[in-house]
């Protein structure tokens, strides 16, 4: 793991480290050579770690006051909001925290797509990241069910019914998931259990994600392999920690803005109506971070087809490292792919928008066009562009464009020498 042998200074430290090399691990994390050109898009790893810890801490606290029973859940959430000391704050941090978590993870994923961070030798990091993303969606969905409002109940009904599309065994699987003949108390109970479990599974995968990252080291904006350590790298601490800390502060300001000024803007007012199995709300919409997939589901006029396409939209990302045929990682040097990247960004945003609209008229047409492009991008554009594209020349090292291409080489050299 570490390129150098670390010896603790104190006798006690050495005694302990010989028995459990935690201090060696700490030294590795501190000295870890990081590309010196990492921009702010690289700060979202740290931000996501913060989000996970926030959700776990607030979640554990909420579980001290919440009751996972169909007759009591809604009232217990209101009890948290009105009676529990700072309960409103903790709940709003937790519910908005889920949205902030997804905001950060989407930026993190698109960063990876732009700079080719999923490509060799980082495929395993990418796949572990996708597993984390899948678990995040499961945790967010189950968490949304817990307040047992109308959106909770009907969201749970619609999502669990997706499994009834499976031929032959679909209905048995759905009943098994429910533990009843509809979404009911047993469903709520098990969702609470799993909602509590999943964040810790995510935590375990995050450790693997970082471990896998520390084998090849970080990708960087120019996407080239670099020597480590060299003049192209800086130690993780203090250079990256301070940059991450600054980005985290900005992120926390936005987070706090939601929590204190518009805590319900990302939610749905129907969820403040207690669950009623006899009445479906007129417009069922999932939380914003699932809308693009919801739009794909609704764009297909066939139940099984829609479900298959929706799951494919996520699972296609797992084979992305092998669909991308380009030898160049960073889109900075890929003039054609770069344009398609932005088309994909717009496409996903558009799918998210139409996912929130009723599935009719122009919205249905847009959803279908968006769905077709989404799949074309990965199945056709990525392999073909990778072959045909004439990429721009890539630099020999991170320092090179600064030293030879900069307007004021002397200044650049000075900065470089300091490092």
């Amino acid at each position: 793991m570490s390129e150098h042998e670390y010896t603790p200074k104190s006798k006690a430290g050495k005694w302990f480290n010989d028995r459990l090399p935690l201090l060696t691990l700490g030294a590795h994390l501190t000295d870890y050579p990081t590309p010196k050109n990492l921009n702010y898009w690289w700060t979202f790893g740290g931000i996501l770690t913060f989000c996970l810890i926030t959700q776990i801490v607030t979640g554990i606290v909420l579980a001290m006051h919440y009751v996972a029973h169909a007759d009591l859940a809604f009232a217990s959430v209101e009890h948290i909001m009105r009676d529990v000391n700072y309960g409103w704050l903790i709940r709003y941090i937790h519910s908005n925290g889920a949205s902030m978590f997804f905001l950060a993870v989407y930026i993190h994923i698109f960063r990876s797509l732009f700079y080719g961070s999923y490509k060799s030798p980082r495929e395993v990091i990418w796949i572990i990241g996708l597993l984390i993303y899948l678990l995040m969606m499961a945790a967010a969905f189950m968490g949304y069910v817990l307040p047992w409002g109308q959106m909770s109940f009907w969201g749970a009904t619609v999502i669990t019914n997706l499994f009834s599309a499976i031929p032959l065994v679909g209905d048995s699987i759905t009943t098994w998931l429910w533990g009843a003949y509809s979404v009911d108390n047993p469903t709520l109970n098990r969702f609470f259990s799993l909602h509590y479990l999943i964040p810790f599974l995510i935590l375990g995968l995050v450790v693997l994600h970082i471990w896998a990252l520390h084998v090849p080291g970080n990708n960087n904006p120019v996407g080239i392999d670099i020597k480590k350590p060299s003049k192209d790298t800086v130690p993780f601490h203090p250079y990256i920690t301070i940059k991450d800390a600054f980005a985290l502060l900005v992120f926390m300001i936005i987070f706090a803005g939601f929590v204190f000024f518009t805590p319900n803007v990302l939610g749905h007012s129907d969820n403040y109506i207690p669950a009623n199995p006899l009445v479906t709300p007129a417009h069922i919409v999932p939380e914003w971070y699932l809308l693009p997939f919801y739009a794909i589901l609704r764009s297909v006029p066939d139940k099984l087809g829609g479900v298959i396409l929706m799951f494919s939209a996520i699972f296609i990302l797992f084979v992305l490292p092998w669909l991308d045929t380009s030898k160049v990682r960073s889109a900075v040097f890929r003039p054609i792919y770069r344009q398609f990247f932005w088309i994909l960004v717009i496409d996903v945003l558009m799918l998210g928008y139409v996912g929130a609209m009723p599935a009719e008229g122009i919205y249905l047409v847009l959803a279908r066009v968006g769905t077709i492009y989404y799949f074309l991008h990965f199945i056709v554009v990525m392999p073909v562009v990778g072959y045909l594209e004439k990429t721009d020349p890539i630099p020999m090292s991170i320092s090179e464009p600064v030293l030879t291409g900069g307007a004021e080489p002397s200044v650049a050299r000075k900065v470089n020498d300091k490092i």
Binding site: T157, V158, S164, W176, L278, T280, R298, K303, P358, A359
Partner: protein, 173 residues
Amino acid sequence: MSKEEKKVNRRDFLFTASYTVGAVGIGAVIWPMIDQMNPDKAQQALATTEVDISSVEPGKSITVLWRGKPVFLKRRTPEEIAEARAVNLDDLPDPQKDEERVKEGKDEWLVMLGVCTHLGCVPLKDKGDYNGWFCPCHGSHYDVSGRIRKGPAPTNMEIPKFEFVDNNTIKIG
């Protein structure tokens, strides 16, 4: 060395036998863990509901809860029955005669699960393009017999097991 080979074979047998016994044991432990998630005795005990239908006027319907799901009980007018039976079966995505969806001699009573066969929402009555039900979630239209006509739902709304206890009472389940 033949003696050693023989030893290895015996060991192979022991390995295979151990793995097999282990797999059976793990399977025997996993199954209760999986099956505990299926509906329990208390859920199964709610399997029947009796409904008093004496107060339902022709053309009106009531909704009752059975096993956590809404059941529509609609007393149809002769015109509605005639409309349901005039439909050409070739026009139906899930062809089924109206006669097969009601009890003979009690043709006015349509008893069905008020659950959209797409993703489980409750359709709204007297809505949609076919004078029947309309599901607000993803836009499935059902006719006056509860058959799917348009939209993503794959099948007609389900008819549960039910019987007439007497002229004024229906037992569902």
